[in-house]
């Protein structure tokens, strides 16, 4: 990959707050031109902190980041980057429109873009109302509108569907997919796995400040698993563990879950039957990012994600 193809690159990027909090821990990631990169992690994982460093808002404790060939926060790279970091922040006493006018002036963007981005996020009819009177979802839309003002090559969006209703979420994902479909590169953070699965080409999974995996959605999702209904369960489990190794066998709601490629179903069935197990059901399941995610981030059972 030549350097033109790499828009964002970090090397051992680290941010420490005080002596106790290691918000981002030696993160090395690469975002390539044209892709939609999903930054996935639970609350407090360090997603926002990473994005802040990429925009030059906070200084890394150590490590290095390059954004569009420049150091983060350099005006030459900022003009080609549009971003929404954490909650959208605007002047409450100004209307949405006036807020965008202020942003456009700072960004040196012509005024006519304002109408366009308002239309893109569906905020035209409320553009003249004060920001303070906006609902959470409308504030979020204004934040995305501001990020689009520069018609940026690289769009950095931190949980852009935060606070949107289901229809708004679907619209926003649609918009992001459309925005990311051409030459434009999108770096998107989320703790919603479904969102990342729907929108992104590649994913970086971050947890406890560390990037624990970086790959395509398909690769991370893996090959799936086999659900096996069997009697007696204990005996079935022992046989399966002998066959596949204990780490690939789980018991879930009275069925066995075997983390193996579903094409091996026939062989496994035969072996179990040979071992004296009565197989009542054999079902392949497609792997989901959620399982991978929960496994990797050590959050099994706590299902506040997804």
């Amino acid at each position: 990959m030549n350097s033109e193809g790499v828009l964002v690159e970090t090397r051992n990027l680290t941010k420490r707050y005080g002596s106790r909090i290691l918000a981002v821990d030696r993160v090395s990631l690469t975002v390539r031109r044209g892709e939609v990169y999903g930054f996935l992690g639970p609350n407090g994982a360090g997603k926002t902190t990473c994005m802040r460093m990429l925009l030059g808002l906070i200084r890394p404790t150590s490590g290095k980041a390059t954004v569009l060939g420049r150091s983060p926060g350099h005006p030459e790279s900022l003009v080609r980057v549009g971003a929404l970091v954490e909650s959208p922040a605007f002047y409450p006493y100004l209307s949405g429109m006036d807020n965008l006018r202020v942003v456009a002036r700072y960004a040196s963007v012509p005024k006519r873009r304002i109408e366009e981005v308002l239309r893109l996020v569906g905020l035209t009819h409320r553009a003249r109302d004060k920001f303070a009177t906006y609902s959470l979802g409308m504030k979020q839309r204004l934040g995305v509108a501001a990020a689009l003002l520069k018609d940026p090559e690289l769009l950095i969006l931190d949980e852009p569907t935060n606070g949107l209703d289901p229809a708004g979420m679907a619209d926003m994902r649609d918009l992001i997919r459309r925005l990311g479909s051409g030459e434009r590169t999108v770096l998107l953070s989320s703790h919603l796995l479904g969102e990342i699965e729907q929108i992104c080409d590649r994913v970086g999974i971050i947890s406890g400040g560390r990037l624990i995996a970086e790959s395509t959605v398909e690769k991370l999702r893996g090959k799936g698993a086999l659900l096996v209904g069997a009697k007696p369960l204990d005996h079935a489990r022992q046989s399966a563990e002998q066959l596949l190794g204990a780490e690939r066998v789980e018991v879930l709601n009275g069925t066995l879950r075997l983390n193996v490629d579903p094409v091996t179903a026939g062989r496994i069935n035969r072996e179990l039957v040979d071992a004296g197990v009565e197989v009542t059901e054999l079902r392949p399941v497609e792997g989901t990012l959620e399982e991978v995610f929960l496994e990797m981030t050590d959050q099994k059972g706590e299902s506040h994600v997804g």
């Binding site: 808002l57 900022l78 922040a89 605007f90 002047y91 006493y93 006036d98 202020v102 700072y106 040196s108």
Partner: protein, 273 residues
Amino acid sequence: MLASFSAGMLKLYKRPAAWGLLLVALVLSQIFNYLVPYAGYLSADNERAAEQILASTMPEYLISNSIGGFPLFAGALALTLGVLSVGSEYSFGTLKTMLIQRPRRLTFFAGELLVLAVAVLAIVLSIFALGALTSYTIATSLSNSIAWPSLSELARGVASGWLILMTWCLLGAMLAFLFKGMAMPIGLGVVWILGIENLIVNVAAALLDFADTLQVGLPGVNAGSLVSALGGRSDAPGVNTAVDGTQATIVLVAYAVVFVLIASVALQRRDVT
């Protein structure tokens, strides 16, 4: 920097609180420079005393009347303006939104400074203009002869008034950068202007030698000296003759520069979260 300046002008111009501050400054200056003396004139029991009271409202005293309140109350308002424009960037969280647009931090700051300089000039000019109108009205209603200060005197008065208010305004801006917010800077700044300097000058200086030496270096004291150098009555609150006009000007400029430098370092060095 022009981009940052024009963006800054837009957000200040559309800000109700900024107009509120201007209004308060105008109303206070009218009340204490003209309304109170005029009421005193109306209720004085002998004619000579009445004439004396009213003489202070005549156009020839436009400069000292206009800037008489700058060391204290107008100064506190200017400080509030500085805190408001910088501190709200932190309390609204808008600093991060604007800094990721394009400008370097110091460019952003330079734009803000220019906006504040223009705003303070607008406050000073409005106070002068309204004062001129009022004193002209009083003078003509009494059929007094009208003598305006010379243009060069007026220019010096406006410039000095601007310097005084700008110094306080920059103190506010610097405190807002240091505290990343509004409440503490306004509290500290106003207590300093209206309270602490007074205590140092009126209480501590008489008791302690070092406080006596220290007081001639205080920003408020120098502002007060600058006002009296331009003809302000030195018995007015906050006005004094501790140092001469030139020295006062130099000290105020030095304070303004130091405030800007400290604010720049604070903004440049620290994380924006």
